[in-house]
Symmetry: C2
Subunit: 290 residues, 2 copies
């Protein structure tokens, strides 16, 4: 297990730019990250679009940043009228990830079609949504492989099953990988976010399975607060919650994962604090509690 307390150069830390999305645009976030010695980031698509892809690519290059991922493709479930929109949108996400040099495109796969692609005919059939997810990933996988952008399915916590992701466990995500990409040639894999998987009684078995298949593309950190006051935007800074972060990191690294510890925290509280304060706290916690 890597000793993060000794990582003076923050070689294994990545800032997911959603963590400080309310404090500045992508260029301001990159500038702040640079000030704090952070050299790895994972930008969100809307933040890239807000400044323009070309400008984002240039800022990443000129700032000397590496990427740990690009957030996000997905939202596959859609009714027939919105299918082409979904397919085009996801191919563009892959192309943007390639332009930015991202090592993977994180997939938040979507829930029921009416939430995944608004305007779609409402249904209650989550199994159908799951089928649509698998079809969508299948339709995207070759384009992604050709672009050199591995797809990373991120299972989301079951509380998002209806509206954000009907893939809710690592087992589900890995089952999809195994069906669509049995030999690993398409480089389908998973993004493991502690927030979404920490509760799962199977999490350690499935981390081992993911590792054995070479499918761990990303590892995301934050914490689960008690009480959690909001389903979406009350995630915690590492150390402020109840997740056994070192045990999860140890399990992931035991599989040979040597990628970044990417800090992704959606939090109304943290978004209300100055960007430099959040980054300083994040670096401190990265070194002391993860």
């Amino acid at each position: 297990m890597r000793d993060l307390s000794a990582d003076s150069e923050l070689r294994h830390l990545s800032l997911n730019t959603a963590t400080v999305r309310k404090q500045g645009d992508l260029l301001e976030i990159l500038s702040a990250a640079g000030r704090h010695g952070i050299s790895c980031v994972s930008p969100w698509r809307d933040q890239v679009q807000a400044v323009g892809l070309d400008k984002a690519v240039r800022a990443v290059r000129e700032g000397g940043f590496r990427l740990s991922g690009y957030c996000r493709g997905g939202m596959f479930p859609a009714d027939a009228a919105r299918r082409a929109e979904e397919r085009d949108d996801n191919r563009r996400a892959v192309d943007e990830a390639a332009a930015l040099g991202a090592p993977c495109l994180v997939l938040v796969v979507g829930g029921l079609p009416q939430f995944s692609r608004p305007g779609s005919v409402p249904i209650r059939d989550i199994d159908l949504a799951r089928d649509q997810v698998e079809d969508g990933i299948g339709a995207l996988a070759e384009h992604a492989a050709a672009a050199g952008v591995p797809l990373a399915i991120e299972p989301l916590h079951p509380m998002y099953a209806a509206d954000r992701s009907c893939v809710n466990t690592l087992r589900q995500a890995l089952d999809i990988c195994d069906r669509l990409d049995p030999d690993g040639a398409l480089r389908l894999g998973v993004a493991i976010d502690v927030y979404h998987v920490w509760w799962d009684p199977e999490v350690y078995d499935q981390i081992a399975r993911a590792g054995a298949g070479g499918r761990i593309h990303a590892f995301h950190l934050c914490d689960w607060l008690v009480p959690t006051k909001d389903l979406l935007n009350d995630r915690g800074m590492m150390g402020d919650g109840v997740i056994d972060l070192p045990r999860l990191r140890r399990a992931v690294e035991a599989q040979g994962f040597d990628g970044a510890c990417e800090v992704e925290i959606m939090s109304d509280h943290l978004w209300s604090r100055p960007m430099d304060e959040v980054l300083a706290t994040m670096i401190d916690r990265y070194r002391t509690v993860c």
Copy 2:
């Protein structure tokens, strides 16, 4: 599958008294239930204690009510200093259930000890909490069997893993049943609440497993709202959310379950409405969307 639309006498409906807990005490709730032709209820322990066990027993008997369960025992994880308190508390819950004639005691098993039994030394080890749950159920099971009160483990949604229940899937609950009560002699079983299990990719397989083992002790209804604004008290009236209720009921009844459809809705919104309005809506939805 039973035809609820034809159930003019509401023979298969039960009112979990938490659904209208803010509108009156247990005696007022029983009185309102009677007015609406509801003859089956599932009371909560704090509501029983508020009016006194003897008075509650008398009101149930004189009102001609059946029970579909008693909510709730559990909260097993505790540090050593609080172990005896937990054991005593749960034996009393069994005795109250027996006095009330409840067909099962629903177990909400608890999360980490510091939340399950406040004052316990805080830990982050959810596996240890899970071991303590199993030890606690094991310690209670013979007393419950002797009292004629089957224990019904209710897996709670994973969003409650930290503070309310570290048993989060039917698979987990049934694994505990199988380990502690392999031959069914102790009548360990499960309470299946659609709110907690609807998202689970394994739910139908595990319902079949529960049925095969004779372990379905209770079936609870409400709905999952989108958006859900509060983790605890924003559950939906049946039909207002996204759960495929008929499919889940069909699966449970296909296993031979002929107990009550117990409506349990914790909702700040519904608690703000008049009791008679909530009960009338509940009866209408029971007949039309479940």
